[in-house]
Protein backbone atom coordinates (compact mmCIF):
# COMPACT_ATOMS: atom_id res chain seq x y z
CA UNK A 1 0.00 0.00 0.00
CA UNK A 2 1.34 3.40 -0.84
CA UNK A 3 1.79 5.97 1.89
CA UNK A 4 2.78 8.86 -0.38
CA UNK A 5 1.47 9.45 -3.85
CA UNK A 6 2.02 12.21 -6.40
CA UNK A 7 -0.04 12.36 -9.58
CA UNK A 8 0.95 14.51 -12.57
CA UNK A 9 2.54 17.08 -10.29
CA UNK A 10 3.97 20.18 -11.94
CA UNK A 11 5.55 23.29 -10.48
CA UNK A 12 6.91 26.38 -12.22
CA UNK A 13 8.94 29.22 -10.79
CA UNK A 14 8.18 32.12 -13.10
CA UNK A 15 8.72 30.74 -16.56
CA UNK A 16 11.03 27.99 -15.32
CA UNK A 17 9.40 24.56 -15.09
CA UNK A 18 10.97 23.00 -11.99
CA UNK A 19 8.77 19.89 -12.10
CA UNK A 20 6.92 18.54 -15.12
CA UNK A 21 4.19 16.03 -14.53
CA UNK A 22 5.75 13.79 -11.89
CA UNK A 23 4.00 10.53 -11.00
CA UNK A 24 5.31 8.78 -7.94
CA UNK A 25 4.15 6.21 -5.43
CA UNK A 26 6.04 5.42 -2.25
CA UNK A 27 5.12 2.26 -0.38
CA UNK A 28 5.08 1.86 3.39
CA UNK A 29 8.57 0.91 4.54
CA UNK A 30 10.14 1.69 1.19
CA UNK A 31 13.57 3.31 1.12
CA UNK A 32 13.52 5.50 -1.96
CA UNK A 33 16.55 7.37 -3.25
CA UNK A 34 15.97 10.54 -5.28
CA UNK A 35 19.04 11.39 -7.35
CA UNK A 36 19.96 13.96 -9.98
CA UNK A 37 22.14 17.02 -10.52
CA UNK A 38 21.61 20.43 -8.92
CA UNK A 39 18.51 21.98 -10.46
CA UNK A 40 16.91 18.65 -11.43
CA UNK A 41 13.91 19.32 -9.15
CA UNK A 42 14.73 16.97 -6.26
CA UNK A 43 14.15 19.52 -3.52
CA UNK A 44 11.07 20.99 -5.22
CA UNK A 45 9.57 17.50 -5.33
CA UNK A 46 10.07 16.75 -1.66
CA UNK A 47 8.72 20.17 -0.68
CA UNK A 48 5.51 19.32 -2.51
CA UNK A 49 5.37 15.86 -0.94
CA UNK A 50 5.88 17.43 2.48
CA UNK A 51 3.17 20.01 1.91
CA UNK A 52 5.66 22.87 2.25
CA UNK A 53 4.82 24.11 -1.24
CA UNK A 54 1.83 23.70 -3.53
CA UNK A 55 1.88 22.24 -7.06
CA UNK A 56 0.61 24.35 -9.95
CA UNK A 57 -1.20 21.27 -11.18
CA UNK A 58 -1.52 17.69 -10.02
CA UNK A 59 -2.22 16.19 -6.61
CA UNK A 60 -0.28 14.84 -3.64
CA UNK A 61 -1.77 12.29 -1.25
CA UNK A 62 -0.48 11.12 2.09
CA UNK A 63 -2.06 7.96 3.42
CA UNK A 64 -5.13 8.41 1.16
CA UNK A 65 -5.60 12.01 2.34
CA UNK A 66 -5.14 14.87 -0.10
CA UNK A 67 -2.25 17.17 0.83
CA UNK A 68 -2.11 19.69 -2.00
CA UNK A 69 -4.35 22.70 -1.72
CA UNK A 70 -5.09 22.19 1.97
CA UNK A 71 -4.58 25.06 4.39
CA UNK A 72 -1.88 24.60 7.02
CA UNK A 73 -4.46 24.19 9.81
CA UNK A 74 -5.65 20.95 8.16
CA UNK A 75 -2.16 19.50 7.78
CA UNK A 76 -1.58 18.38 11.37
CA UNK A 77 -1.73 14.73 10.30
CA UNK A 78 1.08 15.33 7.84
CA UNK A 79 3.28 17.37 10.20
CA UNK A 80 3.31 14.60 12.77
CA UNK A 81 3.79 11.72 10.37
CA UNK A 82 6.25 13.19 7.87
CA UNK A 83 9.47 14.91 8.92
CA UNK A 84 12.46 16.33 7.08
CA UNK A 85 16.19 16.47 7.75
CA UNK A 86 17.88 19.21 5.74
CA UNK A 87 21.32 19.41 4.17
CA UNK A 88 23.06 21.93 6.33
CA UNK A 89 22.50 21.59 10.09
CA UNK A 90 24.21 24.94 10.63
CA UNK A 91 21.27 26.70 9.03
CA UNK A 92 18.48 24.27 9.95
CA UNK A 93 19.11 24.54 13.71
CA UNK A 94 18.30 27.79 15.47
CA UNK A 95 21.61 28.96 17.01
CA UNK A 96 19.83 30.74 19.86
CA UNK A 97 17.83 27.76 21.08
CA UNK A 98 19.10 25.01 23.32
CA UNK A 99 19.23 21.57 21.75
CA UNK A 100 16.51 20.24 24.02
CA UNK A 101 14.05 22.88 22.97
CA UNK A 102 15.04 22.51 19.29
CA UNK A 103 14.27 18.81 19.41
CA UNK A 104 10.95 19.17 21.23
CA UNK A 105 9.76 22.13 19.17
CA UNK A 106 7.67 19.96 16.80
CA UNK A 107 5.92 18.56 19.88
CA UNK A 108 4.85 22.01 21.01
CA UNK A 109 2.86 22.61 17.85
CA UNK A 110 -0.85 22.63 18.65
CA UNK A 111 -1.71 20.65 15.53
CA UNK A 112 0.96 18.02 16.06
CA UNK A 113 0.01 17.61 19.73
CA UNK A 114 -3.55 16.88 18.73
CA UNK A 115 -2.29 14.00 16.60
CA UNK A 116 -0.02 12.63 19.30
CA UNK A 117 -2.39 12.66 22.29
CA UNK A 118 -0.21 15.10 24.25
CA UNK A 119 3.02 13.18 24.28
CA UNK A 120 5.35 13.76 27.27
CA UNK A 121 7.98 16.12 25.86
CA UNK A 122 10.75 15.43 28.34
CA UNK A 123 10.39 11.70 28.08
CA UNK A 124 10.39 11.82 24.28
CA UNK A 125 13.47 14.07 24.32
CA UNK A 126 15.35 11.46 26.33
CA UNK A 127 14.23 8.73 23.96
CA UNK A 128 15.27 10.44 20.74
CA UNK A 129 18.62 11.61 22.14
CA UNK A 130 19.35 7.98 22.95
CA UNK A 131 18.20 6.91 19.49
CA UNK A 132 20.76 9.19 17.80
CA UNK A 133 23.55 8.38 20.30
CA UNK A 134 23.86 11.83 21.82
CA UNK A 135 24.56 12.17 25.56
CA UNK A 136 21.55 13.19 27.67
CA UNK A 137 23.23 16.44 28.74
CA UNK A 138 23.30 17.62 25.11
CA UNK A 139 19.82 19.03 25.70
CA UNK A 140 21.15 21.97 27.72
CA UNK A 141 23.74 23.02 25.17
CA UNK A 142 23.61 25.13 22.02
CA UNK A 143 24.13 23.91 18.41
CA UNK A 144 27.49 25.68 17.99
CA UNK A 145 28.97 23.49 20.71
CA UNK A 146 28.60 20.45 18.45
CA UNK A 147 30.49 19.18 15.43
CA UNK A 148 28.85 18.93 12.01
CA UNK A 149 28.06 15.24 12.40
CA UNK A 150 26.60 15.77 15.87
CA UNK A 151 24.48 18.65 14.61
CA UNK A 152 23.05 16.40 11.93
CA UNK A 153 22.20 13.91 14.72
CA UNK A 154 20.33 16.73 16.49
CA UNK A 155 18.39 17.44 13.29
CA UNK A 156 17.56 13.74 12.99
CA UNK A 157 16.45 13.62 16.64
CA UNK A 158 14.12 16.57 16.03
CA UNK A 159 12.66 14.84 12.98
CA UNK A 160 12.04 11.66 15.00
CA UNK A 161 10.47 13.44 17.97
CA UNK A 162 6.85 13.35 16.72
CA UNK A 163 7.16 9.62 15.84
CA UNK A 164 6.85 10.07 12.08
CA UNK A 165 6.12 7.27 9.64
CA UNK A 166 8.04 8.95 6.83
CA UNK A 167 11.47 10.53 7.08
CA UNK A 168 12.67 12.72 4.21
CA UNK A 169 16.39 13.45 4.19
CA UNK A 170 17.54 16.15 1.74
CA UNK A 171 21.27 15.67 1.11
CA UNK A 172 21.82 14.97 4.82
CA UNK A 173 25.45 13.92 4.44
CA UNK A 174 26.60 16.25 1.65
CA UNK A 175 28.03 18.89 3.96
CA UNK A 176 29.84 16.33 6.13
CA UNK A 177 33.36 14.92 5.94
CA UNK A 178 33.55 11.58 4.18
CA UNK A 179 34.60 9.96 7.47
CA UNK A 180 31.65 11.43 9.38
CA UNK A 181 29.33 10.55 6.52
CA UNK A 182 29.72 6.83 7.28
CA UNK A 183 28.56 7.32 10.88
CA UNK A 184 25.45 9.26 9.86
CA UNK A 185 24.59 6.71 7.16
CA UNK A 186 24.91 3.88 9.68
CA UNK A 187 22.66 5.79 12.06
CA UNK A 188 20.01 6.41 9.42
CA UNK A 189 20.07 2.78 8.32
CA UNK A 190 19.65 1.60 11.94
CA UNK A 191 16.80 4.01 12.64
CA UNK A 192 14.91 3.16 9.48
CA UNK A 193 15.17 -0.51 10.34
CA UNK A 194 14.38 -0.22 14.04
CA UNK A 195 11.55 2.30 13.77
CA UNK A 196 10.12 0.84 10.58
CA UNK A 197 10.38 4.20 8.83
CA UNK A 198 9.66 4.96 5.21
CA UNK A 199 12.68 6.85 3.90
CA UNK A 200 13.02 9.33 1.06
CA UNK A 201 16.69 10.08 0.61
CA UNK A 202 17.73 12.90 -1.70
CA UNK A 203 21.31 12.92 -2.93
CA UNK A 204 23.56 13.68 -5.85
CA UNK A 205 25.86 10.90 -4.65
CA UNK A 206 24.66 7.62 -6.12
CA UNK A 207 27.05 5.53 -4.06
CA UNK A 208 25.34 6.62 -0.85
CA UNK A 209 21.92 5.95 -2.35
CA UNK A 210 22.96 2.50 -3.52
CA UNK A 211 24.00 1.74 0.03
CA UNK A 212 20.94 3.02 1.83
CA UNK A 213 17.96 2.69 -0.52
CA UNK A 214 16.10 -0.28 -1.99
CA UNK A 215 14.69 1.73 -4.88
CA UNK A 216 15.61 4.88 -6.73
CA UNK A 217 14.28 7.54 -9.08
CA UNK A 218 16.65 9.53 -11.28
CA UNK A 219 15.56 13.09 -11.98
CA UNK A 220 16.63 15.45 -14.71
CA UNK A 221 15.21 18.86 -15.63
CA UNK A 222 12.02 18.33 -13.65
CA UNK A 223 11.26 14.83 -14.89
CA UNK A 224 11.87 11.28 -13.72
CA UNK A 225 14.08 9.74 -16.39
CA UNK A 226 14.66 6.38 -14.75
CA UNK A 227 13.24 4.40 -11.85
CA UNK A 228 13.55 0.95 -10.37
CA UNK A 229 15.26 -1.19 -7.76
CA UNK A 230 18.62 0.31 -6.70
CA UNK A 231 20.62 -2.77 -7.59
CA UNK A 232 19.00 -2.93 -11.02
CA UNK A 233 19.34 0.79 -11.83
CA UNK A 234 22.96 1.02 -10.74
CA UNK A 235 24.13 -2.25 -12.30
CA UNK A 236 22.25 -1.77 -15.56
CA UNK A 237 21.51 1.93 -15.98
CA UNK A 238 19.24 2.48 -18.98
CA UNK A 239 19.82 6.15 -19.72
CA UNK A 240 23.09 7.89 -20.55
CA UNK A 241 22.26 10.41 -17.86
CA UNK A 242 22.20 7.77 -15.11
CA UNK A 243 25.40 6.28 -16.52
CA UNK A 244 27.06 9.70 -16.36
CA UNK A 245 25.89 10.28 -12.78
CA UNK A 246 27.22 6.86 -11.80
CA UNK A 247 30.54 7.43 -13.54
CA UNK A 248 30.98 10.80 -11.83
CA UNK A 249 31.06 9.32 -8.32
CA UNK A 250 34.68 9.65 -7.21
CA UNK A 251 36.33 6.35 -6.39
CA UNK A 252 39.76 5.77 -4.94
CA UNK A 253 42.19 5.30 -7.80
CA UNK A 254 45.55 3.84 -6.87
Amino acid sequence: MSILRAEAVSRCFGAFPALRGIDLEVGLGQRLGIVGESGAGKTTLIKLLAGLDQPDSGQVWFDQKIVSGRPERDLGFLRSSLQIVFQDPRSSLNPRMRVGSIITEPLRSKRVRRELNDIDQRQRLGEVLKMVDLPADSADRYPHEFSGGQRQRIAIARALAPKPQVLIADEPVSSLDVSVRAQVINLLADLVEREGLTLLFVSHDLMVVRHLCDSVIVMRAGEIVERGQSAEVFEHPQTDYTKALWAAVPRIRV
Binding site: S147, D177, V178, V180, A189, H204, V208
Partner: protein, 276 residues
Protein backbone atom coordinates in the same frame (compact mmCIF):
# COMPACT_ATOMS: atom_id res chain seq x y z
CA UNK B 1 65.52 22.81 -6.80
CA UNK B 2 62.75 22.07 -4.32
CA UNK B 3 59.82 24.40 -4.91
CA UNK B 4 58.35 24.51 -1.43
CA UNK B 5 60.00 23.49 1.83
CA UNK B 6 58.09 23.58 5.08
CA UNK B 7 60.06 22.84 8.25
CA UNK B 8 58.69 22.59 11.77
CA UNK B 9 55.77 24.85 10.98
CA UNK B 10 53.54 25.64 13.95
CA UNK B 11 50.61 27.99 14.33
CA UNK B 12 49.00 29.08 17.57
CA UNK B 13 46.00 31.32 17.96
CA UNK B 14 45.02 33.98 20.43
CA UNK B 15 46.26 34.93 23.85
CA UNK B 16 45.80 31.38 25.10
CA UNK B 17 48.10 30.19 22.31
CA UNK B 18 45.76 27.41 21.32
CA UNK B 19 47.68 25.05 19.07
CA UNK B 20 46.32 24.71 15.54
CA UNK B 21 49.26 22.95 13.89
CA UNK B 22 52.51 21.70 15.34
CA UNK B 23 55.82 20.65 13.82
CA UNK B 24 54.52 20.30 10.26
CA UNK B 25 57.24 19.51 7.72
CA UNK B 26 56.93 18.59 4.06
CA UNK B 27 58.29 19.54 0.66
CA UNK B 28 56.87 19.92 -2.83
CA UNK B 29 59.01 19.51 -5.93
CA UNK B 30 58.24 21.42 -9.14
CA UNK B 31 55.05 20.10 -10.83
CA UNK B 32 54.45 17.61 -8.01
CA UNK B 33 50.89 17.09 -6.75
CA UNK B 34 50.64 16.66 -3.01
CA UNK B 35 47.35 15.78 -1.32
CA UNK B 36 46.68 16.90 2.25
CA UNK B 37 43.95 14.87 3.92
CA UNK B 38 42.37 14.78 7.35
CA UNK B 39 39.04 15.55 8.98
CA UNK B 40 37.54 18.94 9.74
CA UNK B 41 39.63 20.68 12.36
CA UNK B 42 42.81 18.73 11.69
CA UNK B 43 44.70 21.84 10.56
CA UNK B 44 44.58 21.51 6.77
CA UNK B 45 43.30 24.98 6.01
CA UNK B 46 45.51 26.64 8.64
CA UNK B 47 48.50 25.04 6.92
CA UNK B 48 47.39 26.45 3.55
CA UNK B 49 46.76 29.91 4.94
CA UNK B 50 50.15 29.89 6.67
CA UNK B 51 51.85 29.15 3.34
CA UNK B 52 49.96 31.97 1.66
CA UNK B 53 50.65 34.40 4.50
CA UNK B 54 46.93 34.87 4.98
CA UNK B 55 46.57 34.00 8.67
CA UNK B 56 44.86 36.58 10.87
CA UNK B 57 46.81 38.92 13.17
CA UNK B 58 46.28 36.82 16.28
CA UNK B 59 48.15 33.85 14.82
CA UNK B 60 51.66 33.14 16.09
CA UNK B 61 53.63 31.32 13.41
CA UNK B 62 56.83 29.38 14.06
CA UNK B 63 59.10 27.34 11.82
CA UNK B 64 60.33 27.85 8.29
CA UNK B 65 58.67 28.16 4.87
CA UNK B 66 60.88 28.46 1.80
CA UNK B 67 59.63 29.03 -1.74
CA UNK B 68 62.32 28.42 -4.35
CA UNK B 69 64.87 28.40 -1.53
CA UNK B 70 63.86 31.86 -0.33
CA UNK B 71 62.34 32.14 3.13
CA UNK B 72 58.96 33.81 3.00
CA UNK B 73 58.82 34.23 6.76
CA UNK B 74 61.04 37.32 6.49
CA UNK B 75 58.99 38.94 3.74
CA UNK B 76 57.11 42.14 4.44
CA UNK B 77 53.47 42.37 3.35
CA UNK B 78 54.36 44.17 0.14
CA UNK B 79 56.79 41.50 -1.06
CA UNK B 80 54.46 38.74 0.05
CA UNK B 81 51.58 40.13 -1.96
CA UNK B 82 53.79 40.16 -5.04
CA UNK B 83 54.33 36.45 -4.49
CA UNK B 84 50.62 35.67 -3.98
CA UNK B 85 48.75 35.19 -7.21
CA UNK B 86 52.05 35.08 -9.07
CA UNK B 87 54.46 32.36 -7.87
CA UNK B 88 51.76 30.78 -5.71
CA UNK B 89 48.01 31.06 -5.87
CA UNK B 90 44.99 29.58 -4.19
CA UNK B 91 41.59 28.14 -5.07
CA UNK B 92 39.12 28.27 -2.18
CA UNK B 93 36.29 25.94 -1.22
CA UNK B 94 33.35 28.24 -1.78
CA UNK B 95 33.63 30.11 -5.11
CA UNK B 96 30.67 32.33 -4.26
CA UNK B 97 32.50 33.89 -1.33
CA UNK B 98 35.89 33.85 -3.04
CA UNK B 99 34.63 36.06 -5.87
CA UNK B 100 33.66 39.71 -5.49
CA UNK B 101 29.88 39.81 -6.01
CA UNK B 102 29.95 43.39 -7.32
CA UNK B 103 32.52 42.89 -10.09
CA UNK B 104 32.12 41.17 -13.45
CA UNK B 105 34.15 37.97 -13.40
CA UNK B 106 36.20 38.91 -16.47
CA UNK B 107 37.48 41.96 -14.65
CA UNK B 108 38.29 39.89 -11.57
CA UNK B 109 40.45 37.52 -13.62
CA UNK B 110 42.05 40.50 -15.39
CA UNK B 111 42.81 42.09 -12.03
CA UNK B 112 44.93 39.10 -11.04
CA UNK B 113 46.79 39.49 -14.31
CA UNK B 114 47.26 43.27 -14.21
CA UNK B 115 48.48 43.30 -10.61
CA UNK B 116 51.39 41.07 -11.52
CA UNK B 117 52.43 42.04 -15.03
CA UNK B 118 52.94 44.94 -17.34
CA UNK B 119 49.88 44.03 -19.35
CA UNK B 120 47.86 46.94 -20.65
CA UNK B 121 44.18 46.79 -19.76
CA UNK B 122 43.25 46.36 -23.44
CA UNK B 123 45.45 43.39 -24.23
CA UNK B 124 44.58 41.72 -20.94
CA UNK B 125 41.06 40.89 -22.15
CA UNK B 126 42.47 38.56 -24.76
CA UNK B 127 44.53 36.66 -22.18
CA UNK B 128 41.53 36.48 -19.87
CA UNK B 129 39.33 35.03 -22.63
CA UNK B 130 42.01 32.50 -23.54
CA UNK B 131 42.32 31.44 -19.90
CA UNK B 132 38.54 31.13 -19.46
CA UNK B 133 38.47 28.91 -22.54
CA UNK B 134 41.24 26.75 -21.15
CA UNK B 135 39.23 25.97 -18.03
CA UNK B 136 36.52 24.59 -20.27
CA UNK B 137 34.01 27.44 -20.21
CA UNK B 138 31.79 28.02 -23.25
CA UNK B 139 30.67 31.45 -24.46
CA UNK B 140 33.56 33.08 -22.64
CA UNK B 141 32.45 36.56 -23.71
CA UNK B 142 29.14 36.18 -21.92
CA UNK B 143 30.80 34.57 -18.89
CA UNK B 144 33.39 37.33 -18.61
CA UNK B 145 30.62 39.95 -18.60
CA UNK B 146 28.59 38.12 -15.96
CA UNK B 147 28.50 38.75 -12.25
CA UNK B 148 29.24 35.73 -10.01
CA UNK B 149 25.58 35.22 -9.03
CA UNK B 150 24.66 34.77 -12.70
CA UNK B 151 26.90 31.71 -12.98
CA UNK B 152 26.46 28.16 -11.70
CA UNK B 153 28.65 26.76 -8.93
CA UNK B 154 30.78 24.82 -11.41
CA UNK B 155 31.25 27.87 -13.65
CA UNK B 156 32.24 30.00 -10.67
CA UNK B 157 34.82 27.47 -9.53
CA UNK B 158 36.28 27.35 -13.07
CA UNK B 159 36.58 31.13 -12.97
CA UNK B 160 38.48 30.81 -9.69
CA UNK B 161 40.78 28.22 -11.27
CA UNK B 162 41.34 30.56 -14.24
CA UNK B 163 42.22 33.34 -11.82
CA UNK B 164 44.62 31.11 -9.91
CA UNK B 165 46.40 29.96 -13.06
CA UNK B 166 46.50 33.06 -15.24
CA UNK B 167 49.94 34.12 -14.02
CA UNK B 168 51.40 30.63 -14.56
CA UNK B 169 52.18 30.05 -10.88
CA UNK B 170 54.71 27.48 -9.70
CA UNK B 171 52.35 26.30 -6.96
CA UNK B 172 48.56 26.24 -6.76
CA UNK B 173 46.97 25.56 -3.37
CA UNK B 174 43.48 24.10 -3.70
CA UNK B 175 41.47 24.03 -0.47
CA UNK B 176 38.52 21.63 -0.90
CA UNK B 177 37.85 23.07 -4.37
CA UNK B 178 35.02 20.68 -5.23
CA UNK B 179 33.37 20.08 -1.85
CA UNK B 180 30.59 22.58 -2.57
CA UNK B 181 29.81 21.04 -5.99
CA UNK B 182 27.67 18.07 -6.91
CA UNK B 183 29.33 14.92 -8.24
CA UNK B 184 28.97 15.49 -11.98
CA UNK B 185 30.21 19.08 -11.75
CA UNK B 186 32.96 17.91 -9.42
CA UNK B 187 34.12 15.36 -12.00
CA UNK B 188 34.32 18.06 -14.69
CA UNK B 189 36.12 20.56 -12.48
CA UNK B 190 38.67 17.93 -11.43
CA UNK B 191 39.27 17.06 -15.07
CA UNK B 192 39.83 20.73 -15.92
CA UNK B 193 42.15 21.16 -12.95
CA UNK B 194 44.17 18.11 -13.99
CA UNK B 195 44.46 19.45 -17.53
CA UNK B 196 45.55 22.99 -16.70
CA UNK B 197 47.94 21.92 -13.95
CA UNK B 198 49.50 19.49 -16.40
CA UNK B 199 49.71 22.02 -19.22
CA UNK B 200 51.25 24.67 -16.97
CA UNK B 201 53.50 22.21 -15.20
CA UNK B 202 52.37 23.81 -11.95
CA UNK B 203 52.75 22.02 -8.63
CA UNK B 204 49.70 21.61 -6.44
CA UNK B 205 48.89 21.26 -2.77
CA UNK B 206 45.43 19.73 -2.83
CA UNK B 207 43.47 19.79 0.42
CA UNK B 208 40.46 17.54 0.83
CA UNK B 209 38.66 15.25 3.24
CA UNK B 210 37.65 13.11 0.27
CA UNK B 211 40.32 10.50 -0.39
CA UNK B 212 38.76 9.46 -3.67
CA UNK B 213 39.07 13.00 -5.01
CA UNK B 214 42.68 13.25 -3.80
CA UNK B 215 43.53 9.98 -5.55
CA UNK B 216 42.38 11.46 -8.86
CA UNK B 217 44.61 14.53 -8.67
CA UNK B 218 47.67 13.72 -6.56
CA UNK B 219 50.61 11.34 -6.57
CA UNK B 220 51.82 12.04 -3.02
CA UNK B 221 49.78 12.47 0.12
CA UNK B 222 50.18 13.57 3.73
CA UNK B 223 47.69 12.82 6.49
CA UNK B 224 46.98 15.33 9.25
CA UNK B 225 45.48 14.59 12.64
CA UNK B 226 45.06 17.16 15.42
CA UNK B 227 47.50 19.56 13.78
CA UNK B 228 50.27 17.06 13.14
CA UNK B 229 51.31 14.97 10.17
CA UNK B 230 50.82 11.32 11.08
CA UNK B 231 51.57 9.67 7.76
CA UNK B 232 53.09 10.54 4.39
CA UNK B 233 53.86 8.69 1.19
CA UNK B 234 52.65 7.97 -2.30
CA UNK B 235 48.90 7.92 -2.89
CA UNK B 236 49.13 4.31 -4.04
CA UNK B 237 51.16 3.28 -0.99
CA UNK B 238 49.21 5.13 1.69
CA UNK B 239 45.77 4.29 0.30
CA UNK B 240 46.47 0.60 -0.28
CA UNK B 241 48.62 -0.01 2.83
CA UNK B 242 47.87 2.67 5.42
CA UNK B 243 49.99 2.33 8.55
CA UNK B 244 48.62 4.74 11.12
CA UNK B 245 45.30 3.51 12.60
CA UNK B 246 43.72 6.89 11.85
CA UNK B 247 44.68 6.62 8.17
CA UNK B 248 43.33 3.06 8.13
CA UNK B 249 40.04 4.46 9.37
CA UNK B 250 39.97 7.23 6.76
CA UNK B 251 40.70 4.78 3.96
CA UNK B 252 38.04 2.34 5.17
CA UNK B 253 35.33 5.01 5.30
CA UNK B 254 36.23 6.18 1.80
CA UNK B 255 35.67 2.72 0.34
CA UNK B 256 31.89 2.95 0.12
CA UNK B 257 32.04 1.48 -3.38
CA UNK B 258 33.43 -1.77 -2.03
CA UNK B 259 30.77 -2.25 0.63
CA UNK B 260 27.80 -4.53 0.00
CA UNK B 261 24.68 -2.31 0.09
CA UNK B 262 22.94 -2.19 3.45
CA UNK B 263 25.86 -3.43 5.51
CA UNK B 264 27.15 -1.37 8.41
CA UNK B 265 29.90 0.95 7.17
CA UNK B 266 33.27 1.05 8.90
CA UNK B 267 33.96 4.35 10.70
CA UNK B 268 37.15 6.01 11.87
CA UNK B 269 36.53 5.18 15.57
CA UNK B 270 36.53 1.47 14.59
CA UNK B 271 40.23 1.91 13.88
CA UNK B 272 41.34 4.89 15.91
CA UNK B 273 39.94 6.07 19.23
CA UNK B 274 42.35 8.90 19.99
CA UNK B 275 41.10 12.37 20.60
CA UNK B 276 38.16 12.04 18.24
Amino acid sequence: MTLLEVEGLSVRFGRRRRRAIEDVSFAIEPSQRLGLIGESGSGKTVTALALMGLLPQNAAVGGEIRVNAVSVRDLDEHSYSRLRGDAMSMVFQEPMTALDPTMRVGRQVAEALLLHSRHQAGSSRKSVMAMLERVGLDEVGRIADSYPHQLSGGQRQRVCIAMALINSPDLVICDEPTTALDVTVQAKVLQVLNEVLGAEGAACLFISHDLAVVSQVCDQVIVMLDGRIVEAGTVAGVFSHPEHPYTKGLVATARLDQMPPGERLPTVPDFYRGQL
